[in-house]
Every structure is written in C-alpha cells, then in structure tokens.
Amino acid sequence: MAENIVPRVRVPRDAKAGDVVSVRTLISHPMESGLRRGSDGNLIPRQIINRFTCTFNGATVVDVTVHPGVSTNPYFQFEAKVDASGTFAFSWYDDNGSVYTDTAEIAVA
C-alpha cells in the first residue's frame, strides 16, 4: 500500500534577504483513513501521514499535526521568511514509523 511514496517540494531558487517566499509541498500517499472497508468487508487499517514539518536552516517554519481529514496525496502551501542562503528541510511522518524527507536550497542575496 505504501509503495512509491515520493515527496515533491517547490521553493524559489533565489530571493533577497528578508523576503517572504512561497513554499509548496506534495507527497504521494494514500492517507488511508482507517474508516474504509476492503473488498473482504474488514476495515482497512489506518495509515496516514500524521505529521509534517518544514524547517529553514534549522528553524521551524511550520509543524503540522495531520488527521485523516487531509486528502490523499497531502498538499501544503505556506510562506517562509529567508534572511540568508540556506536549506529547507521537509519531513513527513507516516503511521508505520517511516519518515520521508526532502530538502531544497535557496540562494539569498
């Protein structure tokens, strides 16, 4: 069920110091709610991304607690303030214990 879980992130390549930049994230994930029944009539076990975090140079941008009410292939868009060049780090926490990560660099002039 959880095969091919691939994160995608998009941030601008460059910005000016002090800019507020848009950050978009998407991850392929079934977000199985635990409320659906399979063809055998039994409940399909819950398996969702239950937490998503984004940091910039180690400082938190957002920390999201996620419930089954978020759609399949979870999408989050938000804004970060960048004062210097650096790295965005993204983490998606799966119910099964897996943590999927991605990073993105931005050059700040």
Partner: protein, 140 residues
C-alpha cells in the same frame, strides 16, 4: 471467512482500541471536544482571520482550503460533520513568513469548515464557511 461471535466482538474491541486507544491518533470524538482541546474553552473573535473555501466542491475527496490569520501562533482546521472533525493543525515557527496556509481536505458531505487561530497573545479567532459537496452524476 467464517467468524465466531467471540471473534467478532474481539475484532470490534480491536477497532475501538484503534480509534480511541492510541495516543498519537487521539482524534477528538466531537466537534466541541476538538475545539475545547485547542481553545481550552476560551471564546473566539471573528476578526483577523480569513477562510477561503469553495461554496461548492466538485468532489468531497479533495477540497482546496486556504486560511490566513496574521499574527497567529497556530491554526486549527476542522470539518464539523466528518466522522472525526479534526483535519489538521498548523503551528508556526520563527522562520514562518506569514500565517497563511493552503491544503486539500476531505469533506464527508455538505458541512461547515471551521478555522480557529490561536494568536500570539493567547486569544482566539474563528472563521466558518459552509461548503456544499456535489453529488456526482456518475460513479465511473
């Protein structure tokens, strides 16, 4: 598969435990409880928070939502009539550039989407919008 009554009851308990037992999925049972857990019972003002949701969603599986609450420390999104009303809660850190977020949520039928912001000073703001969910013509 044949199933004895005892197995059936056992499965039911296991399901109940799966719903209510594990702390990391401690979804609030009711909307009021979910709100109270976030606001500790404080009243919420209506100014300074903007919730953008479609009046009519073409499918309840993927409903785009945007919420903005300048100065918020955290924003909670709720769907009043989902099986579990919690959708997600955004906590903003020091590197946040604004308190504006977009996501896509599930809506089990027409209902109110609720956004509650916890402001830096500990006060709360709330916005609600009703979303109608289209009944598709074709199952496909």
């Amino acid at each position: 598969m044949t199933q004895t009554r005892r197995q059936f009851v056992g499965n039911g308990l296991a399901v109940a435990a799966a719903f209510f037992g594990l702390p990391h999925i401690a979804s609030a049972a009711t909307l009021e409880e979910a709100i109270a857990a976030f606001t500790s019972g404080s009243d919420a003002g209506a100014d300074g928070i903007t919730l953008i949701a479609p009046e009519i969603a073409e499918n309840g599986n993927t409903v785009p939502i945007e919420v903005s609450a300048p100065g918020a420390a955290a924003i909670m999104l709720l769907a009043a009539r989902n099986p579990s009303p919690d959708v997600c809660t955004f906590e903003f850190g020091p590197a946040a550039g604004s308190q504006m977020v977009s996501t896509r949520i599930r809506l089990a039928g027409e209902q109110e989407v609720i956004a509650i912001a916890r402001m830096a000073d500990g006060s709360f703001k709330q916005a609600r919008q009703n979303v109608r969910v289209t009944i598709g013509g074709c199952g496909g």
